[in-house]
Symmetry: C2
């Protein structure tokens, strides 16, 4: 691919319909242009920026999608509270040399009568799947649609949503969209808090409390590094750290197999430490991969 | 598309791996060649032939897939008894000018760890879905994979599997594979029996009894044409026809809305008459669209 004339980016285009994005991607495929895609829900932070830059570096054309997908929010969840900042997101994309910002409407993505659904059951069952019923079915369905519309060579996701990366990886392997998936490390604030579009909704006191999640995972990592091999001991230590923060309520803290997400009683090889806490009305998740 | 040099068919190629079929289809898409696809389970009859010829007439390149998909057979169903005749199927494809016969292995389609699943719930709930739990999830999953691998401009299905055509149509509209779907009329033997790869398994006595399904649907159609507008009366009349054949057992006979497949108490507009019967170990389905 790289031995042909490079794709010359003109001004960024904003595309709002599924028809127009698929026409655009077909034209590029005919020209043999490799497309990189960054699917997002918008309200960009430095984590998104890292994904966009990685796509820009490795692909000839870059599509960023911004779509607050109602199907991945459970009942009573915060779809209407989810931040929307399309204008500033578009400005950032333009600055970063993105070719297309794909910002479809809800009716365009889910027209009346919409019914199809994609699922990856065993990976979606635990943790986020348990706390947010239907969440991963919503994710898998929208990602399948986006990959079908754009047919990217590479799709970029952040490690912060660890379980999501496994679900999408499974999807990409199983449903043959012809896409490779790249997962980039979580980007953090200096105090360790994983960047999230939900962080700006924290009150000042909640923001001060928020790094406790990362601190708990780090304590778990240190304990593993010090030689502890009992999953339940590590889990208890992480709980202890969070219980020191009175604003935080634990949804789960777990020591798991990084491929299946099943809890690991005895630790060997690589494990993933997963956590989710609530601070007031805001829910935060984080994870760390640790080699024993 | 048609104003460029026509795609020149050389000898038919048989492709057995998902990697090779996706490489082939990518190359054709780059050349702007339109692909027509006929997904089948093999054991061709004149119904398949009609689909293949329609694809040949309307598309520059034709792919026929032959894959006896284990996921669309329920527990205790006849996946191992399903006829397999790849050699004669391939000969027919070659004679008809098919470009590629795609005949993947089960391991190639469903490698270890396979988990993703596609469903279209409300359409899949009744009739075949009730008699064959999991059937349409198997169909939707394999069709999603095939469409992703081949990216045909048009995919061809037969009306005989009426509920399947609705499920696939929904899938094609909802998951954006970039494919148009064409449904061709059911092809029948002179006595009315809808062609099916399962027909050759009927004993001579069962074969003589088999047209009773079509006869029941035709009786329902005649009754509608004569002015009867009660769904339950039509249904009873169809049951009466089948009950005259002692070898046949009814799975269902129904008068439905042709878009939702919900039963219709009062008939207006177009309705579909659906039927499934068992003759010994063989299960037959059929349908008729009727305008009131």
């Amino acid at each position: 691919m790289l031995n042909k004339a490079p794709h010359v980016a003109v001004a960024m285009r904003t595309i709002r319909t599924v028809h127009a994005i698929s026409t655009w991607s077909r034209a590029l495929h005919r020209q043999g242009v490799t497309i990189g895609m960054v699917p997002t829900m918008g309200a960009f932070h430095a984590g998104h920026l890292a994904l966009i830059r990685a796509a820009r570096r490795s692909c000839e054309a870059v599509v960023v999608s911004v779509f607050v997908n109602p199907r991945q929010f459970g009942r009573g969840e915060d779809v209407s509270r989810y931040p929307r900042r399309l204008r500033s997101d578009a400005a950032l994309c333009a600055r970063e040399g993105v070719d297309v910002l794909f910002a479809p409407t809800q009716e365009g993505m889910y027209p009346p009568g919409f019914e199809a659904s994609v699922s990856v059951r065993s990976l979606a069952r635990r943790w986020e799947g348990e706390c947010r019923p239907g969440h991963f079915e919503g994710v898998a369905t929208v990602v399948t649609k986006l990959l079908s519309l754009v047919r990217p060579e590479i799709v970029f996701f952040g490690q912060k949503d660890f379980q999501q990366t496994l679900v999408v990886k499974r999807l990409v392997e199983d449903l043959n969209p012809g896409t490779r998936m790249v997962v980039l490390p979580t980007v953090r604030d200096p105090d360790g808090l994983a960047l999230s579009s939900r962080n700006p909704r924290l009150t000042p006191a909640e923001r001060r409390a928020a790094p406790v999640l990362c601190a708990a995972l780090q304590a778990g990592r240190e304990a593993i590094r010090s030689g502890i091999r009992s999953g339940s001991r590590i889990r208890k230590m992480m709980h202890q750290v969070v219980s020191g923060e009175r604003l935080a309520q634990v949804d789960y803290l777990a020591v798991c197999d990084p491929s299946t997400l099943e809890p690991r009683p005895r630790l060997t090889g690589t494990v993933v430490l997963l956590g989710a806490i609530r601070l007031g009305r805001t829910r935060l998740i984080d994870n760390l991969l640790v080699r024993t």
